[in-house]
Amino acid sequence: MIRILSALMIVFFVLPIQAKAELLSIDLAEDHLDITTGFNGGLIHLFGHRKNDLHDVFVVLEGPKHEVKVRQKTQMLGAWMNTSTKVFEDIPVYYDYAFDEANTAAVSENIFNKFISAENFFDIAGVKNEKKRAIIEKYKDAFIDERKREGLYPVVHSTIKFIDENFFKLSFELPANVPKGQYMVRAFLHDDGKIITEQRTSFWVGQVGFNAKVNKFSEKESLVYALLCVFLALFSGWLSNKIARK
């Protein structure tokens, strides 16, 4: 009996998942982006394969999530200063998405609004009071605008390039000011406004080598680091006096 049950379990639960997983598979060329002393932005390459070309693909890239404060300036006695603040929790500080180059129209409005739009990070629909909601909307729009200006949210979509019918590649271009942390890549297979399957992978953006050591040291041994900074300044001040006298 147990055998039959477990066999049934496999047939009904495990196999479908595996079959679905094979519909779409993705991998990154590298699982980390290193910020070195000369860092000026970088590329993350994604390769993927879908089982057949019946369904379309889109990919989103979510940066690390943090609490963000959006501050508004108003004029006080002629001077512009921050007067009010709205806090949003768990917002990706970096975001990007990619569609099929040849077939952008395939991403329906429904799919875009539900799974791609950055608006989804903000839980605003729950706010019943219309006035309050309008105010929060303004802060939310301001945040998205600021991210776009900084090149941290997409202004236009990146493109997925199909090498053949089912094998595709995609390069996300991360700017010099890219925030460090864990980045989540989510690839979706969709059809007719519905998600067929999703695949995830992730990569890490962080300082490496000398920079990373300096940063870590400054946090862990902050007093030693501080004394080192002061000593360095004292020494170079003394040295410069020596040079000047010659």
Binding site: S218, Y225, W238
Partner: protein, 305 residues
């Protein structure tokens, strides 16, 4: 060349920072001013977060004050006792300053406060310097003041308690006075990353009646400690001292100052002073414009890591 700053966590053009600090160093070589009051606003204009600009500038200040004070020591122009009393005030000022800084940052008002303080300071110094330098074109020096000359201080100041003897300066004044002046310097070092020499020096001359000859060396002497304290506090409490940025600032400052000192021989003091005054006014106007003109973007974003 782009370099990535490990603490500020941003990429900057190294040449820009180097030229900026060399330029400020050049000015300090000519005029003997610290120049922190120009570097910090410029760093902020370049997009470096105010906290990092202030914290890092404090460490540059240590270097430039050491260079300056060694020269004064050699000539015996430092009143160490006076400097020590001042730096007691200075150290406590730098502590208080850090807390004010942290609190303002928490409120989201640190940029505003730094701007306003700079506008006030530069707005006072610039016109005064301009007035003085233009006026002196027309005024012949009637009498050359002796280097050990002092100003008479007001009776109120003479009546303050806790009097102390300062043999080097030949003064018998309340310890509250140098302590208080040092305190103001300490607060300024922590909040603005400047030594505040342009405030300390006149205060020491006019309020305390200190001999002019000793004033510069003594104020530099105490600025070393105050700036060092501000650097340590910023690094430990805010983690905003970027050692790479500091190195570029110090290197530029040192080289600029040497060129400035050489140049100073060929420059007529008053003309140069007019230029410096105009530069200070320029920075002040720019800060005012940023503060009073409607900003392009009324919303700003802060990410809490």
């Amino acid at each position: 060349m782009q370099i990535y700053l490990p603490i500020a966590e941003m990429a900057i053009e190294m040449e820009t920072i180097f030229i900026l600090s060399a330029f400020v160093g050049f000015l300090s070589g000519i005029f003997g001013v610290g120049g922190g009051f120009l570097t910090t606003p410029f760093l902020i204009f370049l997009g470096i977060p105010p906290a990092v600009a202030v914290g890092t500038q404090a460490s540059q200040l240590v270097a430039s004050s050491v260079t300056g004070v060694l020269g004064h020591f050699k000539k015996g122009n430092v009143d160490v006792k006076m400097g020590t009393v001042m730096l007691v005030g200075g150290l406590s000022g730098s502590f208080i300053g850090i807390f004010i800084f942290k609190f303002l940052k928490y409120l989201g008002q640190i940029d505003f406060a730094v701007s306003v303080l700079y506008i006030l300071l530069l707005g006072i110094i610039g016109p005064m310097m301009l007035y003085e330098s233009i006026f002196s074109f027309f005024k012949k020096k009637k009498s050359v003041r002796g280097e050990f000359n002092t100003y008479k201080v007001s009776p109120f100041i003479q009546s303050l308690p806790y009097k102390m003897r300062f043999p080097r300066s030949k003064l018998y004044v309340s310890a509250l006075l140098p302590g208080g002046i040092g305190f103001v310097g300490g607060v300024l070092a922590s909040i603005l990353g400047i030594g505040g020499g342009f405030i300390l020096v006149p205060a020491m001359i006019y309020f305390m009646g200190m001999p002019i000859l000793l004033v510069a060396g003594t104020s530099l002497f105490q600025i070393i400690f105050t700036a060092a304290s501000a650097t340590i506090l910023h690094a430990v409490m805010n983690n905003t001292v970027d050692i790479i940025l500091a190195l570029v600032l110090i290197a530029g400052g040192v080289i600029g100052a040497q060129i400035g000192v050489m140049f100073a021989r060929f420059v007529k003091g008053n003309y140069a002073r007019v230029i410096l005054a105009l530069l200070i006014l320029g920075v002040c106007v720019r800060l005012c414009a940023d503060l009073f003109m409607e900003p392009d973007y009324k919303y700003s974003v802060v990410v809490d890591l």
